[in-house]
Symmetry: C2
Subunit: 287 residues, 2 copies
């Protein structure tokens, strides 16, 4: 048998018990820090071998008073998924390379945390000193064919800071280097994509270069457009979210609007830097 | 054979071709609006039947110039997952009741959109007229055992507006009714949960009731605590994100801080109301 896991705290070892009795092999698991265990399947095995190991493991975890049981199945071991479901596991989440299954041992209602619920997008307002805004026309997507000149937008990846995503999208679509200034506003929408919700952050950036080199795959055209011309587009006049972009740009041009800028903070639980976005203009006291 | 789908635009019909030739049955599919198709598996079938249908379908979709192919497999039909993977599908996302598989037909790089990447949490600052803040001690979780009095916090569900989530969490944990005022700040952190990122929105709410009825399951204790006492807790003095909560509360108490308030907007693509969060204080012109 070849079950193995990244077992920092192996719960089972060997084939012989302390008293010399025979014992049943179980799946290597690590504690999840919330009263449950995580099994990371790594090596190929038949469903028959897997079901034997899984049943023995479940008995042991129940005896140990464990709550949630997570099994991460890489796509190469997809032959084990049906077995896990038959033994009472359900789907928690999936990524291209793996499926996470979960099971709750106690009789009481489970406290399994939900899967990621939101996609995050950014839009980038890049204004130069001539009061021109950096705009693009897209080759596809829902704005294609409307003749609309729009600000660069894109998806924030898991693990990516949203100010970096805004800088990256502008660079990818137009070749322009920028510096992040602040989040002007954000919008939450629902049922955008397979029932998930979206958060869209409208960011203000300062251009650091000026020669446009548009990306060919997704971008039909890119240019610096006088702000008045951008704002006067019928589409932007007609639709509320776009009207707000006009208003916010105007408020920034008139220098009377404070958005949220980014401040680095260190987490308590992990010595990891993250970013807090707040109205620095109004928060006089610096830490 | 019993493959069926919610086929608004069925791509295949019947067993006989137009010219009376026999033809191979395929999986019912609907167009996804992006050049691909979606198959929603509904009825039980054997993997043998499924693989025959799937191969015939893939040939047809390739011939039709389709790009992405999505197959939604409910957990009851988990016996079909291995077959789909063997035919070139990979995991896209999963929820407790289903797994979404995807395949890209063209030779070119795929433009399959990524899965949801962020969990969203809210924290609620509820200050009353006596400059007391509503605080709780949790029965479990990472703040348990620290003796920390903290503001109510919780997860925003997919489909839930974050201001409603803040109101709901306060009500659930303390029984206090509140009205949402504004987002004071937000923080993005990474690798919080299976590699996903988190967004935490710090919200300010106004209490509409004052008698605390704490929830028993998760909350050890709840009270109105003088702000100075809350802020003076050693934990809150020591850790940056908590220090910022102190500072932001103080700035609000001194009435010199503008966060982002919520304004309803109507989307262009769907006649659906959503909320835009912006600095209303600074945006003088109302739409």
């Amino acid at each position: 048998m070849s079950a193995s896991a990244n077992s920092a705290q192996p719960l089972t070892e060997g084939r012989l018990g302390e008293n010399g009795f025979g014992c049943v092999e179980t799946l290597p698991a690590i504690n999840d820090g919330h009263g449950g265990v995580i099994v990371e399947m790594k090596n190929a095995m038949s469903p028959d071998v897997f079901v034997t190991l899984l049943r023995a493991s479940l008995l042991q975890w129940k005896h140990q008073g464990k709550w949630g049981v997570w099994i991460k199945v890489p796509i190469e071991l997809v032959n084990l998924v049906e077995t896990a479901v038959k033994e009472g596991f359900w789907f928690h989440h999936a990524e291209p390379s793996y499926l996470m299954l979960v099971h709750w041992i106690p009789e009481t209602g489970n406290t399994i945390p939900p899967n990621a619920s939101h996609r995050v997008n950014v839009g980038a307002v890049v204004l130069n000193d001539n009061k021109e805004v950096l705009v693009v026309q897209e080759k596809r997507g829902r704005f294609h064919g409307l003749g609309l000149w729009k600000i660069p937008t894109g998806v924030v990846d898991a693990g990516e800071d949203l100010f970096n995503a805004a800088i990256r999208e502008v660079k990818e679509e137009t070749g322009i280097d920028t510096e992040f200034l602040e989040v002007l506003a954000f919008r939450q929408t629902h049922k955008e994509f397979f029932g998930k919700s979206d958060l869209f952050f409208l960011c203000m950036l300062r251009p650091l270069s000026f020669d446009i080199k548009k990306q060919d795959l997704e971008i039909e055209a890119a240019q610096w457009m006088p702000f008045e011309e951008y704002a006067a587009q019928p589409f932007n006049q007609k639709h509320e979210p776009f009207k707000y972009i006009n208003e916010l740009c105007l408020a920034k041009l008139e220098s009377n609007y404070a958005g949220f800028s980014a401040r680095p903070v260190t987490s308590y639980f992990k010595e990891q830097l993250s970013f807090l976005y707040l109205n620095s203009h109004d928060l006089h006291k610096s830490p």
